[in-house]
C-alpha cells in the first residue's frame, strides 16, 4: 500500500518536473503576487484601508458599481476554479447565480399577495441559498463528472434555458418578468437597508452598508479559493486539466473531483447571486441570461485563467467598464449627440468595450493579472527602467 503511494508521489513529482516550460512559467506567474505581500506589506494595508474608507467619500453610483464588481468577482473566482484550474467549461454560471438570487429572495421573502416565501431570517436565507445552489450543482454533477471541456459547456447551456423558463413561469416564487423585491439583509438586528444611518457625519444608505458585507464576503471567498488551489485539491485539479489520464493513473479520482469542483463553483455563483440580489434590491430574469454566462467567461479569460487574483481583476474590469463608459458617454471622443446620425454614446461604449477586450486577449495572453505580476517581478529584481 505504502509502496504504491510512494510510487504515486514519485510520479507526481516527476510529473511536476516534466511540466512543459510554458505551463511552468504560467504557474510561477500565478504564484508571483505573493512577493507583493513582503516588500509591500504597506501596499496591502494601504489598499485595504482605501477600500474600507471608500464609502465615506464615493457617490452611491460608484459604490453600487463596486458592489456589482464584488459580486461578479465572487462568481468569477468560482468559475475560475472550474474553468481555469480544472479545465471544465461552464456556460451555465448565470443559472447558478439565478438559483442563489431567487433562492435567497424566496427563502427570506414573506408569503403575501401573489408571492410565496418562507420568511426565514435573512442571514439564514443567504446561507441556505448558497447550500441550495450547491445542491443544484450536485444534481448536475453526475453529468459534470463525466463530461469534459467543451462538451460540458454545451450541456450546461441547457441549464440556462431551463432556468429562464422556470423563472418566467413560477411567478409566485420569482415574480415573473417584472421580478420580485429582495428583502434587505439583516445581521443580528442590524439592517442593511435603505434607512439612513449617520456615521461620522456621512449618511450611510444600503450601498454604503452593503459595501462592507461585500468586502468581507469577497475576502473570505478569495482566501478559501486560494487555500483550495494551493493545497492538494488544487494540485489534483490542475493535474486533471493538464492530463486527465495521467491524473487518473496517479490516483486522482477524476470524476469525483470534477463533480466536486462543479458543486464548489456553483456555490460561489450562488453567493454571488445573493449579493447581486441584495445590491439590486430586486430580481428580474434579464439579469441571468446567456450573455451573463459569457461575461463571466470573459472575466476569467481577461483577468487570467487559474488564479484568484486574475478572476477578481477580470471581474472588476468586465463589470465596471460598461457602467463607467455609460456614465462618461457624453465626454467620449468621436461621439455624436443622439439624432445627428453619428455614433451614439451607447454604441461608442460598446465598441470601446469590445476593443479593450480584444486588446487584452491579444497583448496580455495571460490576462490582466500578468500586468500586475510583471511589475512586481520587475520591482523586486530591481529591473525597473
Amino acid at each position: 500500500m505504502s509502496d504504491i503511494t510512494d510510487q504515486n508521489q514519485n510520479q507526481k513529482q516527476k510529473q511536476k518536473q516534466n511540466v512543459p516550460p510554458l505551463r511552468a512559467a504560467a504557474k510561477t506567474a500565478t504564484r508571483v503576487p505573493r512577493p507583493l505581500t513582503r516588500p509591500g506589506g504597506y501596499g496591502w494595508v494601504a489598499g485595504a484601508l482605501l477600500l474600507l474608507a471608500l464609502p465615506f467619500y464615493l457617490d452611491t453610483f460608484w459604490l453600487q458599481a463596486g458592489l456589482f464588481a464584488m459580486a461578479a468577482a465572487i462568481g468569477a473566482i468560482g468559475l475560475n476554479l472550474l474553468t481555469g484550474s480544472t479545465g471544465q467549461l461552464s456556460m451555465g454560471h448565470a443559472f447558478f447565480l439565478a438559483v442563489g438570487a431567487y433562492g435567497y429572495t424566496a427563502l427570506a421573502g414573506d408569503s403575501e399577495g401573489r408571492y410565496t416565501g418562507l420568511g426565514l431570517p435573512t442571514w439564514l436565507a443567504a446561507l441556505l441559498a448558497v447550500v441550495l445552489t450547491g445542491l443544484a450543482g450536485g444534481l448536475f454533477s453526475p453529468i459534470a463528472g463525466r463530461l469534459r471541456g467543451a462538451y460540458l459547456g454545451i450541456a450546461t447551456l441547457a441549464l440556462i434555458v431551463i432556468g429562464l423558463h422556470v423563472i418566467d413561469n413560477a411567478t409566485d416564487l420569482t415574480g415573473g418578468a417584472l421580478g420580485r423585491e429582495v428583502p434587505a439583509l439583516n445581521l443580528f438586528g442590524f439592517g442593511f437597508d435603505r434607512s439612513e444611518l449617520l456615521v461620522a457625519g456621512v449618511p450611510f444608505g444600503s450601498a454604503e452598508k452593503l459595501w462592507y458585507v461585500g468586502l468581507a464576503l469577497l475576502l473570505g471567498c478569495a482566501l478559501f479559493a486560494r487555500g483550495v488551489l494551493r493545497g492538494r485539491p488544487g494540485r489534483a485539479m490542475n493535474a486533471i486539466r493538464d492530463h486527465r489520464i495521467a491524473a487518473g493513473v496517479m490516483g486522482v479520482p477524476v470524476a469525483r473531483y470534477r463533480a466536486a469542483v462543479f458543486v464548489l463553483s456553483s456555490m460561489y455563483a450562488g453567493l454571488a447571486g445573493v449579493l447581486l440580489a441584495l445590491v439590486f434590491q430586486n430580481v428580474t430574469p434579464s439579469q441571468f441570461g446567456m450573455v451573463v454566462s459569457l461575461q463571466y467567461l470573459a472575466m476569467i479569460v481577461i483577468g487570467g485563467l487559474g488564479s484568484v487574483g486574475g478572476a477578481v481583476v477580470g471581474a472588476v474590469f468586465v463589470s465596471m467598464l460598461p457602467q463607467v463608459l455609460t456614465r462618461y458617454s457624453d465626454a467620449l471622443p468621436l461621439v455624436a449627440t443622439p439624432g445627428t446620425g453619428g455614433v451614439s454614446p451607447g454604441e461608442a461604449s460598446a465598441y470601446l468595450y469590445g476593443a479593450a477586450v480584444v486588446a487584452v486577449v491579444l497583448f496580455l495572453p495571460g490576462g490582466l493579472i500578468r500586468l500586475v505580476a510583471r511589475r512586481t517581478t520587475m520591482s523586486t529584481s530591481g529591473e525597473k527602467r
Binding site: F61, L178, A200, T284, P322
Partner: protein
C-alpha cells in the same frame, strides 16, 4: 503526503514583523480617517430640499438658478433601440422648443441622456448616477428596471415617466404611466372587434401574446372581456425570440377563431398577418400599440397588413390631421429629416410635454421640489398634450381608459390612420372600476 514545502521560519518571522508594523500603521491611519471623514464632501452634502430662490420658488435636487435637469434612461443600443431613438429625439425636440420659448420658471431645461442598452446593471446604475443630479426622469425604458428601482424611488421621490404600459407599474405617486395600460387597451381592442368586425357572443378568438409582463397584462384584459361578453379565448404564448408564427396560425385555424389579438412585437405582427393571409385564415387581427411599426408596410406582408390588421393605441397617430400630431410631425421631420415618424415620437413627446406641464404648474405653486412636481402632476386632471386627454389625479388608475383604433396605411404619415376615434368601451370602464 503533502507536497507543499514547509514555510521556512525566516519568512514567517519577517512576515509577522511586517504585519505588526503594518497593523500599527493601519490603526493610526484608521483613526486619522475617522477624523477626516467628517470633512468628506459627502458629509457636507446636506439635503438641499426646500431652498427658496429670489422669486420665492422652493427648489430642490436638479434645479439651479438657471437650469432644470431631467434624466432620460433610454435604450439606443439594445432591443428597443428604434423606440429609444425616436422617444429621445422627440424629447430633445421638446426641450429645444421650450428653451427657445424662454424655458420654464425662468430656467432652461436640460435633458441628460443615458443609454443602458436594455442591460439591467447599466439601467440601475444609470438611475443611481442621475438620482442626485436630476429633478425627475422624463423617460425610462424597460419595465423590469422601473420595477427594480420602484422601492428606492419612493425614498428619493423623483418623478419617473416610464415608456411602458404595464398595469403592474401603477400605484406609485412617483412613477406615472401615461395613457391606457395594456389590459385596458386589449379590452378596447376586443370591443372594436365585437362592435365593428362582427365578432359575437359565443365566438372563439385567438390571443397570441409574449411571455412576460406586457403579454400577460394584455391577457388579463382579454380574459376579462371573454367573461363579460361570453367569448372564449384560445391562448398562444410565445417568446420574444419567436418570429415565425406558422405554428400559431395553424393552431388558431384549427380552433376556428373568428378574430386574433396580438400582444407581441412588430416582427411577430408581420409574420402572423402574412402567414394567416397566405393560409386562408382571413379574420381581423388586432394588435397592441407595441405590435406595429411603419417599416412593416415595406415588407411582403404589407398588403395583407393594410387589409386585415388593426392596432389599438393610447394616443392619436402621428399622421393624424389634428393640430397636435400634424405640428409635431412637421417639426420632427424638420429637426430630424433622416429619421422616420413612428409612435415612439408621439410617446416621447407626450411624456416630455406632460412633464413640462407639471413643471409649469409646480412653478405656479412656487414649489419646484420633487414632491412639488409630483403634486402638481396630480392636479392635472384633464391635460391634453394634443394627442388625447389624460387624467393624472389618481396614481392607482391609468391616466386614460381610451384607445384609438388605427389601421395600417402606406400612404399616411407614420403608416397608420385612425379608423375609430378615442373611445372608452363600457367593458374597460367596468374593468377599471373593479
Amino acid at each position: 503526503m503533502s507536497v507543499l514545502p514547509p514555510r521556512t521560519k525566516a519568512t514567517t518571522k519577517t512576515t509577522t514583523k511586517a504585519t505588526t508594523k503594518a497593523t500599527a500603521t493601519a490603526l493610526a491611519a484608521l483613526l486619522a480617517l475617522a477624523g477626516a471623514a467628517g470633512c468628506s464632501s459627502k458629509a457636507s452634502d446636506a439635503k438641499d430640499e426646500g431652498k427658496d430662490d429670489a422669486q420665492g420658488v422652493r427648489t430642490g435636487v436638479g434645479v439651479t438658478e438657471k437650469e432644470i435637469t431631467l434624466g432620460a434612461l433610454t435604450d439606443m443600443s439594445g432591443v428597443y433601440a428604434t423606440l429609444g431613438k425616436s422617444v429621445t429625439q422627440a424629447q430633445q425636440l421638446y426641450v429645444k422648443q421650450t428653451n427657445e420659448a424662454g424655458g420654464i420658471c425662468g430656467r432652461q431645461l436640460k435633458l441628460t441622456v443615458r443609454d443602458h442598452g436594455y442591460d439591467p446593471q447599466k439601467a440601475v446604475s444609470a438611475y443611481t448616477e442621475l438620482e442626485p443630479k436630476v429633478l425627475g426622469y422624463a423617460q425610462f425604458i424597460g419595465s423590469p428596471f422601473v420595477a427594480a428601482v420602484k422601492k428606492r424611488n419612493e425614498d428619493s421621490k423623483a418623478l419617473i415617466v416610464p415608456q411602458a404600459w404595464s398595469a403592474a407599474l401603477l400605484g406609485s405617486e412617483y412613477i406615472r404611466v401615461i395613457g391606457s395600460t395594456y389590459d385596458i387597451e386589449t379590452i378596447n381592442a376586443i370591443d372594436f372587434l365585437m362592435k365593428e368586425k362582427g365578432v359575437k357572443k359565443g365566438d372563439k378568438i385567438g390571443h397570441v401574446y409574449f411571455e412576460g409582463d406586457y403579454g400577460e397584462n394584455a391577457l388579463e384584459g382579454s380574459r376579462h372581456m371573454a367573461k363579460e361578453s361570453g367569448l372564449s379565448i384560445v391562448e398562444q404564448k410565445i417568446k420574444p425570440t419567436d418570429s415565425d408564427m406558422s405554428a400559431q396560425v395553424a393552431a388558431l385555424k384549427q380552433a376556428k377563431v373568428k378574430a386574433i389579438v396580438l400582444s407581441a412585437g412588430p416582427a411577430q405582427a408581420a409574420s402572423l398577418v402574412g402567414v394567416a393571409a397566405a393560409s386562408g385564415l382571413k379574420v381581423p387581427i388586432i394588435g397592441n400599440n407595441s405590435a406595429f411599426a411603419p417599416q412593416l408596410l415595406g415588407t411582403q406582408a404589407g398588403p395583407a397588413l393594410e387589409k386585415m390588421y388593426f392596432v389599438a393605441s393610447p394616443s392619436l397617430p402621428i399622421g393624424d390631421a389634428a393640430d397636435g400630431p400634424s405640428k409635431l410631425a412637421a417639426d420632427y421631420a424638420k429637426a430630424y429629416p433622416k429619421d422616420g415618424l413612428d409612435n415612439g415620437v408621439v410617446a416621447g413627446w407626450t411624456a416630455a410635454s406632460t412633464f413640462g406641464e407639471a413643471l409649469k404648474t409646480a412653478c405656479k405653486d412656487k414649489d419646484l421640489t420633487r414632491e412639488g412636481v409630483a403634486k402638481a402632476l396630480r392636479t392635472m386632471s384633464a391635460y391634453d398634450s394634443g394627442f388625447g386627454v389624460q387624467n393624472y389625479s389618481e396614481p392607482k388608475a391609468p391616466s386614460s381608459l381610451e384607445s384609438v383604433i388605427l389601421q395600417p396605411d402606406k400612404s399616411a404619415k407614420g403608416g397608420a390612420t385612425a379608423v375609430r376615434e378615442a373611445a372608452t368601451s363600457e367593458a374597460a370602464q367596468s374593468f377599471a372600476s373593479d
